[in-house]
Amino acid sequence: MRTITTRRAGALAIALAAASALVACSTADAPGPDASTAPQADSVVVADAWIKAAEDGMTAAFGTIANEGDEAVRIVAVESTAATAMELHETVEDDSGQMIMREVDGFDIAPGASMALEPGGDHLMVMGTTASIVAGDDVVMTLTFDDGSTLDVTATARDYSGANETYEGGDMGEMDHGDMDHGDMGMDHGDMQGADDAHGTDR
C-alpha cells in the first residue's frame, strides 16, 4: 500500500512515502504456527516515527516501537543509507546526577509492551548523514532483531529544537563512531531533565 519514489536525483535513501501513517514493513505478515520461531520483526509495529531535520552531521530519530507478539524481542542494530552509522542510544543518569546518552547493545521490548523513543530519552542516533535531511523528507531506517529479522521504518523529518538536544558534532564523518564518546562531541546534555523513560516502558 505504500508507494515509494525517489524524491530527487542523488537523494540517498530519502524517499517519499505516500502514507503518513508510518507502518513498518517486514518480511512476513503472519506468525508461523510456532510463535517462538516467528521472526521477531513480525510482531513489532513502529508508529509516529520521525527524525530531526539536520543539515549535516548528526541527528536522531524517534517514535514508538510496540511489541504486539507473545515473545520478547530485542533490537540489536539500526542502519540507514542516509547515514554512515546509526546506534541505539539510551539516556541514563550518571554518577554525578547528569543525564547522559550512550550506546547500548540492544533495545529489549517485552511482549505487549512498547518503547517510546523521544527527545531527551532513548533514541536512534544518526551519525554522518550522507545528505542534508530537510523537513518533510522521509528517511528509511532498518531495524535488525537478534534473530536476524529486519524491519524497515520510514521516519518523516521535522524541524525540532526542543529538549535541549544538540546532536551536531564537529567533523563526525571523520571519526570512528564505535568509540565515540558524547562527552567530547560538544553536546550539551547537562541540563537535560525528564529523561526518565527506561527501556520497555509501557506507554
Binding site: 503518513s20 501513517a21 530537510v134 524541524d159
Partner: protein
Amino acid sequence: MPDPASRGLSRRQLLLGGAAAGAGAAAAIGADAVARVVAAPAATPAEVLHGDAVVPFHGRHQAALAVTPQAHATLVALDLLDATDADGLRRMLRILSDDAARLTSGEAALADSEPELALVPARLTVTIGVGPRLVARAGKEVPAWLAPLPAFAIDRLEDAWSGGDLLLEVAADDPLTIAHAQRMLLKGSRSFAAVRWVQSGFRRSRGAERQGTTMRNLFGQVDGTVNPQPGTADFDRLVWIREGWLAGGTSLVVRRIRMDLDRWDRLDRPGREQSVGRTLANGAPLTGSWERDEPDFAALTPIGFPVIPEFSHLRRARSDDTSQRFHRRAFNYDEAPTAGSVSESGMIFTAVQADPLAQFVPIQQRLSDLDLLNEWTTPIGSAVFAILPGCEPGGFVGETLLA
C-alpha cells in the same frame, strides 16, 4: 444590594421587554429566596463537555467549510520563502496535512513539545488555502479569480491584513486548542514560509446558546441570517469547484472589516435597524416578525417610503441574480484599542464560493456603491485564497496541486 443573579435577570427583563418582566422578577425573587433559605447549594446539573468532539479531517472536501462555525478561529497568512520550490511545497503540505490530521483527531502532532495540549480537539479544524504565488510555484495555471479583488471605493486596505501565499484557518470551540495547533503548524512550516498576518476572531462560546444560532456582530446585529447551508444542494452548487486540480475545493475571500463602535454609539435604535433593514431584537426583517421571514421590499410606510430602506444593507446585499450568492463564515474581532479610543473592533468576514468574481464581487460592488452600513464599517484587509480539495488517509492536502 441585589445578588448577581437577580441583577442579571433585571438586565435581562429590560432587554426582553415588559411581558417577560413579571416572570423574570418572580424567578429572581425565587432564586434569591432559595439561596438564603436552603443551606446546601442546589445540585448543579451535569456538566456538558465538548472538548472531545472531533471533526474528521479526511474527505473529499476540507472539513471546516461544511460545519457549523466553531466559537473561535485564527487565520494565518504566510509568505513563501524564496527557496521554497515545488518539492518544498510538497514537503510542507505533507507536514501540514499530517499535523492537521493528528491534531484534529485529538492526538499530538509528531515532534509535539506540548502533547497534552492536543488532547482536547473541541471540533478543531485546519483549513489550508493557497494564494496565486504558491500556485505558480507549484507549476499550475493560476485561476483568473485567484488574485486581489478589484479595488472598491469603500476599501482602506492595509498590507498588514492583506494578501498571502498560504492560508491556515485554525478553528475550534476552544482557544487554547487553537493556540497549540497554530504553533505546531507554524513550527512545521517555518522552513518553508514566514508569517505575514494573523487574525483571530470569535463567536459565542459553545454551549452558550443553541448551535446554529445566527451570530451577532459587535454592533449587536443578528448577522448572516441568509446563508446557504452545508449539506444542501444549493450549498454544493454555490461552493464546490467541479473541475481541474481544484475539484472538490473552493475559494475563500477574507475581508477584515473594521467597525467603528464609537460612531455607532451615536446612532439611535431605529437608525441602527434601518441601516441594516432588520430588527435588533431578533433579526427579523423590518417587514416581518421572525428572523427567517422573507423581507418584503415592496412594503411602504404610511408616508410612502419603503419599510426596508433602499440604502439598507439587507436590500443592497441581495441581488436579483440568485447565482450571486456565497457561504459566509464570519468571526468577530476585538483588539486592544489604539490611543484615545476604547475599541478596535470588527469582523473577519470570510466568503466561500466556487468563483469569487462571479459570486462575491458583484455583491461587494453593490455594497460599495450604496449601503448605509458603510458609514460605520471599513474594509481594512482583503485576501483571496484557493481552498484545496480534501484528502484521504495516506494522502495530503495539495496532492492535486502538485500532481
